[in-house]
């Protein structure tokens, strides 16, 4: 068997689906770990230290949102929701609970693998790269964002989002473009992913999230990086 590309925690109460997901993931070189209910999810998460979590929203015990919040509270590990409810409220609730992305059931194995890969893809540029955005400095290889010497903790996705904007401060990014750059979607996808995560990012990096200076909205188009303070 090829070298493991990463460990994936599958939290789903449907054992058949979980097993199937496991088969697909394994065939793609990932190492699946399973958990069947919400209450034990956090324990399994701590014990297995996965690189990514696939999280069903409807779980016995604690529901998916709660599990997502708990994981987010202690880790920035990518969380991808498995949602059968395409109702928008559920998706937005999940994203607001801290999920990085979601997949609607029913999905094809290709989709699942693509989403998992996109989230595990390391933007590991070999050259040391330091970026400035607003009054922040970003150490890209070190995966660190610093303001006045104080590090700011971001999830990998939020970090990628910030880096994508900071690399081209002259460019206005449409939501579709950000979906492609950060999430890895090649076709138009749900732009709410961008909206929710921009808001989460702002709540961490802006002095006043109501009047953003780091991630600036360009009305009717999208977002761009705020001017660097020198």
């Amino acid at each position: 068997m090829a070298a493991m590309k990463g460990r994936v925690l599958v939290v789903d109460d449907d054992t058949a689906l979980a097993e199937m997901i496991g088969i697909v993931l394994r065939s793609e070189g990932f190492e699946p770990v399973f958990c069947e209910d919400g209450d034990s999810a956090l324990g399994v998460f701590r014990a297995s230290a996965p690189d990514l979590v696939l999280l069903d929203l409807m779980l016995p015990g604690k529901d998916g949102y709660e599990v997502c919040r708990l994981i987010r509270a202690e880790s920035g590990v990518p969380v991808v929701m498995l949602t059968a409810k395409s109702d928008t409220v559920d998706v937005v609730l999940g994203l607001e609970a801290g999920a990085d992305d979601y997949i609607s059931k029913p999905f094809k194995p290709k989709e699942l693998v693509a989403r998992v890969r996109a989230r595990l893809r390391r933007s590991d540029e070999p050259t040391p790269e330091h970026l400035a955005i607003g009054d922040l400095t970003i150490d890209v290889p070190g995966h660190r964002v610093v303001r006045d010497g104080e590090p700011i903790s971001l999830t990998p996705l939020e970090f990628d989002l910030l880096v994508a904007l900071a690399r081209k401060p002259w460019q206005v990014f449409t939501r579709e473009l950000l979906l492609e750059k950060v999430w890895g979607y090649r076709h138009a996808a749900d732009t709410r992913l961008v909206n929710v995560h921009v808001q989460r990012l702002r709540s961490k990096v802006e002095h006043d999230p109501e009047r953003p200076e780091i991630v600036v909205t360009v009305r009717g188009v999208g977002y761009k990086a705020g001017a660097a303070v020198t």
């Binding site: 409810k85 395409s86 109702d87 928008t88 059931k105 094809k108 693509a114 989403r115 929710v196 009717g220």
Partner: protein
């Protein structure tokens, strides 16, 4: 007959119509008018009766008095004549004057005395025919008939009209009786009694009566007004409350005071409103339950479907290693799973519409772009079918408040449908806009359909020809969903078709939410030279309910992140193509 007369007639009839309308529209007016009319008629009758009886009574009484007075006076005069010693004409003349003058003041009130020569008597020695105490012209009031009657003997009287200074007439009574004057013989003595005093009393009485009647009418009118107001006001209030209830303000209630009939009405009304509110709440609960059910079913069905789907894909991916029969089975499994998934997605979508859970996620978009994207998506199918799809776009932008996902779905459905039925003939897509609406017409020149079929194409699971094989494996819900999508926009989706002439579908969308469509920028029925005989016939039209239009007035700008992150709910269709990722 002049135009003026006509004008007057027109104006008059208009006024009459206005009055009739007023009369019909207000219960209060009707009751008030009726009451006042009846009151006035009754009062007029009473007034006439009392006036007439009083006048008669006063007159009779006075006449009795007058008669006895004049009889007494006449006999006094006769006594004076009998006692007189006059012999000569001049003496007789004096005697006549004296007696007449003396009698003038003898009665009650004023009276004039006339002494006339009896008719038929020879002219007397002193040629005295008449002696009067008053205006000599008043002699004319004594009619020949009275004189003739008096000549027959006894006391006679007649009612006359006495001219007054201002040219009117005052009632008066003339009483006459024969007297015998020495020397000259037969004379007639007349007394003229003006009844001015009686007339004054009568007038006063009638004035008083009229005033009382006026007061009575006023009282009647006011009472009626107040009473009807008390009745009508609650009714009006009930009507207003009912209207507000009908407008959806279910908490609206009538105030309940007291224990009268009005309070009963208010109470019953409020009970009705409460029961209505209850039922609507129950329906809402039911609807929520239904939505919940759809959501749950969705979850319950989708999870096993995902497993099956993934298993199918894994088997499908490994099909090359299988025997031919198993390999073919794996392929069938895969394609039918696709179809099953589409069907499930469409079913869930349509049940969301049925539950009223479908939400319009509208933004200002150029419909032409949306159409182009939909046509691009259908391009592979068109290529496979050898159908040429042409798109004709308006010169300017055709921006409208639309939910791009839904509009794209509608156009994709129409275009795919057209390609499927075009049988290799070209498909034309036209987009046009006017001030109020944007229209997309998709026209094919394929087998076409009958008007009857055109009326059914939006029905769920409807097939033109059940015997015809389903080739592209549509779910049978595409056009039904498109119709719901159009309806959600407050738009129209219409179909036209003729056997052998192809079919035409027209989508018309209002450019701004709230615009009520009156017409479409494009014709539904093609005006090709070869089907001039075709009759304009819109078949199915989504009903437009302005109340159902979502209020988007607050969303004038393109939605920005803050706005559509949380609150903008869009029913994301599971049937959307899965996103393919590199």
């Amino acid at each position: 007959m002049t135009s003026v007369a006509r004008l007057l007639r027109v104006r008059w009839s208009r006024r009459v119509r206005a009055a009739v309308h007023w009369w019909r529209a207000s219960l209060q007016v009707r009751v008030l008018t009726t009451t006042l009319t009846i009151g006035l008629v009754v009062l007029a009758l009473v007034f006439a009766y009392v006036g007439q009886r009083t006048a008669q009574g006063l007159f009779d009484e006075r006449v009795q008095q007058v008669l006895s007075e004049s009889a007494r006076s006449t006999s006094q005069a006769q006594d004076m004549f009998d006692a007189a010693t006059a012999r000569t004409g001049a003496e007789v003349q004096n005697l006549l004057t004296d007696v007449t003058t003396a009698q003038r003041t003898g009665g009650s009130g004023e009276r004039d005395v006339f002494l006339l020569r009896a008719p038929g008597q020879p002219v007397s020695v002193p040629a005295v025919t008449a002696v009067t105490t008053g205006d000599p012209t008043l002699v004319d009031l004594i009619t020949p008939e009275l004189r003739a009657a008096t000549a027959e003997g006894g006391q006679r009287w007649q009612s006359v009209g006495l001219p007054t200074a201002d040219g009117g007439l005052t009632p008066a009574v003339v009483v006459g009786q024969d007297v015998t004057v020495p020397v000259v013989g037969g004379y007639q003595m007349y007394f003229l009694y003006p009844l001015a005093a009686e007339q004054d009393r009568l007038d006063f009485l009638l004035r008083t009566l009229a005033f009382a009647a006026g007061a009575l009418v006023l009282l009647l009118g006011t009472t009626t007004y107040l009473v009807t107001r008390q009745t009508v006001l609650p009714v009006r209030r009930a009507a207003q409350v009912a209207e507000r209830l009908a407008a959806g303000e279910l908490t609206e209630r009538m105030p309940e005071h007291g224990e009268d009939e009005m309070a009963t009405l208010a109470h019953s009304f409020n009970e009705m409103a409460a029961s209505l509110q209850d039922q609507i709440r129950q329906l809402e609960d039911l609807s929520a339950l239904q939505r919940r059910f759809v959501s749950d079913v969705s979850h319950e069905l989708r999870t096993p479907l995902t497993t099956v789907r993934m298993a199918g894909e894994v088997i499908h991916a490994a099909r090359e290693d299988f025997e031919p029969a198993v390999k073919r089975s794996a392929e069938l499994l895969s394609t039918q799973l696709d179809r099953f998934e589409d069907l499930l997605g469409d079913l869930l979508e349509i049940s969301r519409f049925d539950a009223g859970a479908a939400v319009l996620d509208a933004e200002g978009r150029d419909v032409a772009d949306v159409v182009l994207r939909a046509v691009d998506n259908a391009a592979p199918l068109a290529e496979r079918r050898g159908t040429w799809v042409s798109v004709e776009l308006p010169e300017g932008r055709a921006v409208a408040d639309v939910d791009p996902r839904r509009v794209e779905r509608i156009v994709r459905n129409l275009v795919v449908n057209a390609i499927e039925h075009a049988e290799g003939s070209p498909v034309e897509v036209r987009v046009a806009a006017d001030a109020r609406a944007v229209a997309v017409v998709v026209r094919d020149h394929g087998i076409g359909m009958t008007p009857d079929e055109a009326g059914h194409v939006f029905d769920r699971f409807w097939r033109a020809d059940p015997a015809r094989a389903r080739t592209t494996g549509g779910t049978g819900l595409g056009l039904a969903i498109s119709m719901e999508d159009a309806r959600l926009h407050g738009g129209w989706l219409e179909a036209w078709g003729r056997p052998g002439q192809g079919a035409s579908f027209r989508l018309t969308l209002p450019r701004r939410a709230g615009i009520i469509l009156m017409s479409s920028p494009l014709p539904l029925v093609p005006v090709d030279p070869d089907d001039e005989g075709a009759v304009q016939r819109p078949i199915a039209r989504a009903g437009i309910d302005p109340a159902a239009l979502p209020d988007l007035s607050g969303d004038d700008d393109l939605p920005d992140d803050e706005k559509d992150a949380g609150t903008h709910a869009s029913a994301r269709a599971s049937s959307d193509e899965p996103q393919e990722v590199s």
